[in-house]
Structure formats: structure tokens, C-alpha cells
């Protein structure tokens, strides 16, 4: 291969990396925080913006798919693995689900989750299935783990709001069209809204029953509910009881105290599921809902209070929550370790190999640069272990050059001229370098097949780093050597 061709190849690689990384650069350094935040807007929220702005946001969103994203551990956020609660399932149905039923149920769960999470408005939420019965939910950048958990598990969308009795009483059948939509919306006061009461029919499907006007103000969220269950009173009639957290109990005491006699709507996903009347002030946080319902109704109600309305009860099988400040700390620490580690290695190479060290260091910097470029191409998610993989790449990447330089030194000692020593040094070292890197590649490749996210990040960065390293340390440094020797007519090299 002639030199010009080699040089061209290196330049092409640098060009591709620059192109790949440019999006990431623009995203993190050219766009403001506000610009970036706009990509989190939901479709509903976007409607409010003028056409021009929307196109701009679309552009930014497109860019997003070509950058190195920060993992949950670096920007904070939530990773959750959900699975059916088989114990509860058995209790409710008496038997386990057939594979088909399970498949169907999981599909519906996915739909519900998608709807809920779309409304949550975090950057790049992701929901995917894993295996037969697991769902992985990732909410990067989510600031409040409890709220996110409540929304995913359904309790965050469960709300207690007062019924606007006055307006509800005014509603008559002729105010609605055939589809049940209110024709003249002006009768609904500013601080209220029209919702519908949904009741399960005999096929166990929720059916819209009648319109009810409720106040917009949310008095209490479902997250305040600690547990809910079905009990029977002294006459054997089923009743639903639930217990509130300490904060929730306080709130509930003042709500009920101020609104005795009124009805409290229990609302899930904007559907009113029941509207019990408040009989008296409830100070203890222990609440009883009585009424004329069957055992099945009561169980459904308790379930909704407990976990929202999934077709199968879900449990959190795995959860990793990283607070935003820890994420921020991790980035700082990771960058610091990477910079100091690289600086130490570069300094060492410079001191030990002098001029040749400069060449190795150019290769090292190029190695990191190409690595970042390729990771950006892969739309890679950078995690803390990923940064660790980079740091390890830095430490190990000079190895190939060390092998080569030591060989060149030996060849020089045996009396060869510089360019002959360089040539045979590279040739003799090549096989060793290839072999030595192969073993680490085998280990990291196997590791990258490991399901767990962070470990994968480590393995992928290290693998890509090693491959690039072989290119830079063998190909690029040799080019630099020969070019340098030719250009400056070097006869002696400090190595």
C-alpha cells in the first residue's frame, strides 16, 4: 500500500468520525437546555406551537437519534422491569393464565403503559418486552421516582376529586347528542370538567354510563394509598377498605371534614370509577367504601385502588432509580477519571518513549476520537461503565505501541538502520498484537451478550475501543513513523 493511499484512509476514518460526532457536539454544546427540553413535549402539547416552531422541534428531534445519549445512571431516571404478580393472579382467578391469555394480557398492559408514559413527558421513554412475561420501562431524566412509579403502576393517575353536584344536577338528556357528547359546553364552569362514570357490564368490560361534572382540583392522588383490600361487614356484605400514608391521611382528614355529605369521585385515566358519598370526617387515614356492590365489584375497586387497572396485576421485578444529583456526580466523576487517566498515560508515554511517545499519543487521542465518532454513529447510550470501558481502552491502547516500540528498540540494538528497524519492528509485532487483542475481544464480546444494560455498555465500548486501537496503533503510527522519517530525514530516533 502506498503512503498516499494510507493517508487517505486515515483521513476518511477521521472524516466519518467527525461527521458522526458532529450531531452529538451540536446537541450538547450548541443547543440550549430549553431546545433540548422541547423534544420531550408530547404530541398534544406540540399542537399549541406555530407551524414553524413545530418543524424546528422536529428537526431537533431528528438530530436526537444520531447522538450519544446519556444513560440512566448519568442523567438520572428510572429503569423498571415489570412482571405479572402470579400470586395475586392465582388468588383472583383461582388458576393461572394459559399462554394465550397471558400473551393477550401482556399486550394490553403494553398499550396501557404506552398511553400513560406518553403523557408523562420524559425524554425518550422506552417500553419493551423481555422474554414472555416481562416488560422493561425506561424513563430517563425522570426527576421524581415516586411519581413515575405511581404512574407506571397506575396509582399516579388515580385521583380523588369532588363531584360538582350543582352543575351535575343541571344536566339533562337533551343536552347531549347521539354519541353522548355535550352540545353546549358553556354550562360547565371554569373550574370543573365533564367526565363519565364507567361501570363494568356483565361481560366484564368497562362501559360508559353517564356524565358527571367534577371539579378540576385534585384533592388526593392514588400514590397516597398504602394498601387496599376487600372486607365484609357484620352482615357479610363486601366493602372496600384502604389505608393512606401519613401525609395522605392528614390531607384526607381535612378534605372529608370540609365536605361531609358530598360525593368523592375516584378517577382513573380520566374515567370515574365510583363516587362514594362522604359520611363523616375521616381522621385516621383508614377509609371504608360501603355500598351495594357484589364481591366481584368490591375486588375490582380494591384492585384499582391498589394498582390501577391492568388486566393482570403487576409487580416490580427489578428497579433501578438514579436521582438527578447522583447522575450529575457520576458524569463529573467519570469525566474527571477519564481526563486524569488519559493525562497520566500520555505523560508516561512521553517521558518513557520521548519522540516515539508523541506518535503513540497521537494514536491514543485519535483512538478516543474515532471511538466517540463510532459510538455516535451507533446512537450509543453512554453509561458510567461505558466511560470505564473508555478509560480501560486508554490504558490498554498504548499496549500495541509498547510492543512495537520495544521491538524497534531491539532491532536498533542489533544494528539495523532506523527505517529497517521500524519496518521489521512492525512486522514482528503484528502477530503478537493481533493475538493479544483477540483474547480480550473474546471476553468482551461474550460479556456484551449479557442482558444487563450497564455491563453491555462497558463491553461494547471496550470491544469497539480495541478494534479501533488495532487500526490506530498499527496502521496510523506506522504511517506517522515512515512519513516522519522521510520528511525530516531522521537517522536517529529517541525511543
Amino acid at each position: 500500500m502506498n503512503k498516499a493511499f494510507r493517508l487517505l484512509l486515515v483521513l476518511i476514518a477521521v472524516g466519518i468520525a467527525t461527521w458522526g460526532f458532529s450531531y452529538t457536539y451540536i446537541w450538547y454544546f450548541r443547543y440550549t437546555k430549553e431546545d433540548r427540553a422541547m423534544t420531550n413535549l408530547t404530541a398534544e402539547e406540540l399542537v399549541r406551537f406555530p407551524e414553524e416552531k413545530r418543524l424546528q422541534i422536529k428537526e431537533i428531534k431528528k438530530l436526537r437519534s444520531r447522538i450519544i445519549n446519556l444513560g440512566l445512571d448519568l442523567q438520572g431516571g428510572i429503569y423498571m422491569v415489570l412482571e405479572p404478580d402470579y400470586q395475586e393472579l392465582k388468588k383472583r382467578h383461582g388458576s393461572s393464565l394459559t399462554p394465550d391469555e397471558l400473551k393477550d394480557a401482556m399486550r394490553r398492559v403494553m398499550e396501557i403503559l404506552r398511553n400513560r408514559i406518553d403523557k408523562f413527558g420524559v425524554s425518550e421513554p422506552s417500553i419493551r418486552t423481555q422474554g414472555e412475561d416481562r416488560i422493561v420501562v425506561e424513563l430517563p431524566g425522570s426527576k421524581d421516582p415516586n411519581r413515575a412509579r405511581n404512574i407506571v403502576m397506575g396509582r399516579g393517575l388515580l385521583e380523588f376529586r369532588l363531584v360538582d353536584e350543582e352543575t351535575t344536577a343541571k344536566l339533562t338528556r337533551d343536552m347531549f347528542d347521539d354519541t353522548g357528547t355535550l352540545i353546549d359546553r358553556s354550562i360547565i364552569p371554569e373550574n370543573s370538567e365533564l367526565l363519565y362514570l364507567w361501570v363494568k357490564n356483565r361481560f366484564d368490560i368497562l362501559e360508559r354510563q353517564r356524565a358527571v361534572v367534577v371539579y378540576k382540583e385534585v384533592l388526593l392522588e392514588g400514590g397516597a394509598i398504602k394498601r387496599a383490600q376487600v372486607q365484609t361487614d357484620q352482615f357479610g356484605k363486601p366493602e372496600v377498605t384502604f389505608e393512606l400514608s401519613t401525609d395522605g391521611a392528614k390531607q384526607f382528614a381535612s378534605i372529608t371534614g370540609a365536605n361531609v355529605g358530598k360525593r368523592l369521585a375516584i378517577i382513573l385515566d380520566n374515567k370515574i370509577l365510583s363516587m362514594p358519598s362522604i359520611r363523616e370526617r375521616i381522621p385516621s387515614g383508614r377509609v371504608r367504601i360501603t355500598g351495594d356492590f357484589t364481591m366481584k365489584d368490591a375486588q375490582d375497586q380494591a384492585l384499582v385502588l391498589r394498582a390501577g387497572a391492568f388486566p393482570v396485576p403487576l409487580q416490580i421485578a427489578e428497579q433501578r432509580v438514579v436521582g438527578p444529583s447522583l447522575g450529575e456526580d457520576s458524569i463529573q466523576a467519570g469525566i474527571k477519571a477519564a481526563i486524569i487517566g488519559s493525562a497520566l498515560v500520555i505523560l508516561f508515554m512521553l517521558v518513557y518513549y520521548k519522540l516515539a511517545g508523541i506518535i503513540a499519543n497521537i494514536a491514543l487521542v485519535l483512538n478516543i476520537y474515532l471511538l466517540l465518532g463510532i459510538l455516535a454513529w451507533l446512537n450509543f447510550t453512554l453509561t458510567l461503565p461505558g466511560i470505564a470501558g473508555m478509560i480501560l481502552t486508554v490504558g490498554m491502547s498504548v499496549d500495541a505501541n509498547v510492543i512495537i516500540f520495544e521491538r524497534i528498540k531491539e532491532e536498533l540494538r542489533s544494528g539495523k538502520t532506523l527505517s529497517a528497524a521500524v519496518q521489521s519492528g512492525y512486522e514482528k509485532a503484528f502477530r503478537t498484537i493481533l493475538d493479544a487483542n483477540m483474547t480480550t475481544l473474546i471476553a468482551t464480546f461474550v460479556l456484551s451478550q449479557f442482558g444487563s444494560g450497564p455491563i453491555k455498555g462497558f463491553a461494547v465500548t471496550l470491544s469497539v475501543g480495541i478494534v479501533i486501537n488495532m487500526f490506530t496503533s498499527i496502521f496510523v503510527t506506522r504511517l506517522l513513523f515512515t512519513m516522519g522519517i522521510d520528511a525530516f530525514r531522521v537517522k536517529k530516533l529517541s525511543i
Partner: protein, 300 residues
């Protein structure tokens, strides 16, 4: 070039390795296995940062005891922040409620604004079993592939000794994890697999030299001397590479934050063990094997 008589002290280096590994094995046995982190044992973790630096580990432990979920609290070693890790066993279900109750109790005791939840992890029993099982599979697959590669790459003797050196390194890492009461988790697994790759890498470089040098019949006659010379020839490379890798990993250990500390620790031990074994153990074994059953020259 200096020629250090490395192989002359092999009785000492064998003994040193044996003592460390034996002590590690005893330590692991006494502690009934390695300490497992929540990845493999299951469990719940709340990592909390408290604004008030006067709050002690005892105060936090009292809060945890108050919730009825045990008393496992650790203080994170940090010069500025007052941070604690609260840990409970995992239940079959409702682990999120355990976490909620613990955070609730912390809020109540120390005030909502003075408590920052840094981390809240759950690993349920099914997941931990799954992670443990896939770790075994990953470990076995990696070992088999590396064995295959080694047999394909080396002649039988060199392959076997390379593998012994590799197992030696892994055992040393595990011993040190046990000595320092670190917990096994997926990170440590990643470190161990990396070490396997790294250690073999070091050994290969030395063995390549040995084989190259053994090709002349005069060198073959002086088997030990030749092997010793080969170690010396690759010595500077072995040491320098370990040094640069150690510099990088040390900076990860010191500056990389708490999450990566144990991972970096395992790597540091592994790199040192790997370097040590490729200089003092692997080639020494080749020499002793040759003394026991001389290898025919053409086979090398």
C-alpha cells in the same frame, strides 16, 4: 540488556501464590461463600443523602429498624456528603412498597427537604436468579471460547499453562474480593471477564517470545535459560503495559465515584495478578513441566 534470573525464585513465587489463594479459599469458606450483592442475592437498596452532616449511622439505622425491615445500613465514605445505603432483603412481591415505606420514614424523621433519595434499587428473587444463572452461562461460555482459542493458538503444554495462569489470576481476584469484604455483582463479573482476557494477553506475549527463541537447537538445549531470556525480553513490555493500564484504572478507582470503586478495585488486583502470573507463574510452569517430561523440540 540485563538478564534477571526470574525463574530461580519460582519456588518462592509458587508458594506466594499458593498462600494467597489458600488464604482466600479459607476466608471464603469461613464466610460461607462470597458476599453477594443484590444483583445475585436479590434485595432492595435505598441510597440517601442527608443535608444534616451531624446525623450518624446510628440515627439512620434506627429509622430502618423502625420500619421493621432489618438494620443493614452502611455509610458511604465521602468527604463532603453525608450518604447512607439502607438495604433490605427482597420479598417475592411488593418490594416497591418496602422502598416507599423506608423513604417515607426517612422523610418523616429528617424532614422532606433535608433528604435526597440518590438511588432506589429493587432486585426481586426471580431477577436475581436469572442474573445469577446468566452469569454462570456467560462465565462458562467465555471460558470455553478462550480455551478453544488457546488450544487452537498454542501447542498443548503452553495452552494448559496459560489456562492455569488465568485461573490463578481469577482466584487471586476472588480472594481479594473476599479479604476486603466486597460484594459480588454484575460489575465484578465484568471485571473478572476483562481480567481473563487481559491476563491471557500478557501470557501470550511472553509465550510468543519463548517459542520464537526455542527454535534454535542451541537455545533448546538450555531450556531454562532460554525461557528466562524470553521473559526478560518481554519484561519491559509487560511492565509498561501493566503500568499504563494501572494508571488508567487507578484514576478510575480514585476519581470515578463510588459506583465504580469496587469494579476498579477488582481490575487493579486482576491486572497486578495477571502481570505477576505471566512473569513468574506461567513460564515457570512450562519450565517445570519440561524438567518433568521433556518436550520434543519439533513439537514446540
Amino acid at each position: 540488556m540485563k538478564n534477571i534470573k526470574i525463574l530461580h525464585i519460582r519456588k518462592f513465587t509458587y508458594t506466594l501464590s499458593a498462600v494467597i489463594i489458600l488464604a482466600g479459599a479459607v476466608n471464603i469458606a469461613v464466610n460461607r461463600g462470597l458476599k453477594m450483592g443484590i444483583d445475585f442475592a436479590g434485595g432492595n437498596i435505598v441510597q440517601v443523602q442527608l443535608a444534616d452532616s451531624n446525623i450518624t449511622i446510628g440515627d439512620v439505622r434506627d429509622v430502618l429498624i423502625g420500619t421493621g425491615y432489618g438494620n443493614n445500613v452502611q455509610k458511604i465514605d465521602d468527604p463532603v456528603k453525608n450518604q447512607f445505603i439502607l438495604k433490605t432483603l427482597a420479598r417475592e412481591r411488593d418490594n416497591d412498597k418496602i422502598i416507599a415505606e423506608i423513604t417515607d420514614a426517612l422523610y418523616r424523621k429528617f424532614g422532606r427537604d433535608a433528604v435526597v433519595i440518590e438511588k432506589a434499587d429493587i432486585v426481586g428473587p426471580r431477577i436475581s436468579k436469572y442474573l445469577l444463572r446468566s452469569s454462570y452461562i456467560i462465565g462458562v461460555v467465555a471460558l470455553v471460547l478462550i480455551l478453544l482459542y488457546t488450544t487452537f493458538r498454542f501447542k498443548f503444554r503452553f495452552g494448559v499453562t496459560a489456562i492455569i495462569a488465568l485461573i490463578h489470576d481469577v482466584l487471586i481476584v476472588l480472594s481479594f474480593i473476599s479479604f476486603f469484604s466486597k460484594e459480588m455483582d454484575t460489575f465484578i463479573l465484568a471485571a473478572v471477564l476483562t481480567i481473563i482476557g487481559y491476563s491471557l494477553n500478557d501470557t501470550i506475549v511472553v509465550f510468543d517470545r519463548v517459542r520464537e527463541n526455542l527454535k534454535s537447537s542451541k537455545a533448546y538445549e538450555e531450556y531454562i535459560k532460554t525461557v528466562n531470556r524470553s521473559i526478560n525480553q518481554s519484561l519491559s513490555r509487560t511492565v509498561i503495559t501493566s503500568l499504563t493500564t494501572l494508571l488508567a484504572v487507578l484514576s478510575l478507582f480514585i476519581f470515578g465515584g463510588n459506583t465504580m470503586k469496587d469494579f476498579a478495585f477488582a481490575l487493579i488486583v486482576g491486572i497486578i495478578a495477571g502481570t505477576y502470573s505471566s512473569i513468574f507463574i506461567a513460564s515457570a510452569l512450562v519450565v517445570d513441566w519440561h524438567r518433568w517430561r521433556p518436550e520434543k523440540m519439533k513439537k514446540i
